[in-house]
Amino acid sequence: MRPAVVYLKEVVKAEAGEVYDIELEADILEANRKLAKKNRELLRKYDVKAIDVMGATGSGKTSLIEKMVQALIGRYRIAAFKGDLTTTIDAERIKRHGAEAVPITTGKECHLDANLVGKALRNIDLKQIDLLFIENVGNLICPAEFPLGSEQRIVVVSVTEGPYMVIKHPFIFMDADVVVINKMDLADAMGIDVKKLEMDVKTINPKASVAVTNCRSGEGVKKVIEALGL
């Protein structure tokens, strides 16, 4: 994260001649939100629709993007930003399907922020794309704190993460437009009631659409695409 910008509002008062009370009103998180807004404006200018993909490590975010790219590559010119701590393995996976993929390695940070995404946006030719997937670092906590400037947000949760992932992380699901419940083929083996997971999502966020998928075979991905209005 870059240092937030401080806006000095006013010097309030001086105490006993030597202690000065300075009203800062500097919101550290607001700095990221402002950058996110800038990213959003830039994307809009070039008519690029950006979609965040968030979810835990191993939930199937990259597989979902791969399957969506496969299905949409004829209709849209697609790019993907792929946030990871270090490797570029996943970016290569996405590239195979004909999308431009830019790895964003965060080093140690557990989430992408609007500044990193802004930098990546300057690295691609926005005139050449219509659709951008931004895959966050695998994490259900911090990404909820840092909007990146995208239009829609997907949260992927897989049945192998157990029955309580949704209710344990209500705030990231509140930010989601589409929730994908992945690895449906393993639900029986895991003893997971998919309907219950769906209900949990709807309880927390009645606005979100829910799609149940198997991102290895591609089953259900069509519903995700429809929910995104693509």
Binding site: D21, E145, T203
Partner: protein, 124 residues
């Protein structure tokens, strides 16, 4: 996050040629993912050896606020208190009309004000 808070305060202190920092007042929304215990701990560690060392840290917390698009309700969250969930689960369902609400407050991480100790005779 705490290091950004400390950086910002130090920058402000330098701007005013302060010789010390007496107090730092923060406002942290309950919908952020900041642990107050961790903020206090890292604040102590990060300010060691700086002019912020031994400054008092005050943290005011702020509840989450939601606003309903249909009935205009503005206030605290609705909680789904089904025993099945073990905990009251926050929901975006409006407590008044059952419509859906948007989060409008509780995501602050604000350095509200700082009290600087200035060199005597400093003109301000």
């Amino acid at each position: 996050m705490t290091s950004q808070i400390v950086e910002n305060v130090l920058r402000e202190a330098r701007k005013h040629n302060a010789k010390g920092v007496a107090e730092v007042h923060l406002v942290i929304g309950k919908l952020t993912f900041l642990g107050l215990e961790q903020v206090r701990f890292s604040y102590k560690v990060l300010t060691e050896g700086t002019i912020m060392e031994n400054s008092k840290l005050f943290i005011e917390t702020k509840d989450g606020v939601v606003k309903c698009g249909s009935c205009g309700y503005e206030g605290s969250f609705n909680y789904e208190d089904d025993p099945m969930y073990h905990i009251p689960l926050p929901t975006l369902k409006c407590p008044k009309c059952g419509g859906t609400v948007d989060i409008v407050g509780g995501r602050e991480c604000l350095i509200k004000n700082v009290k600087l100790i200035l060199d005597e005779g400093c003109q301000h």
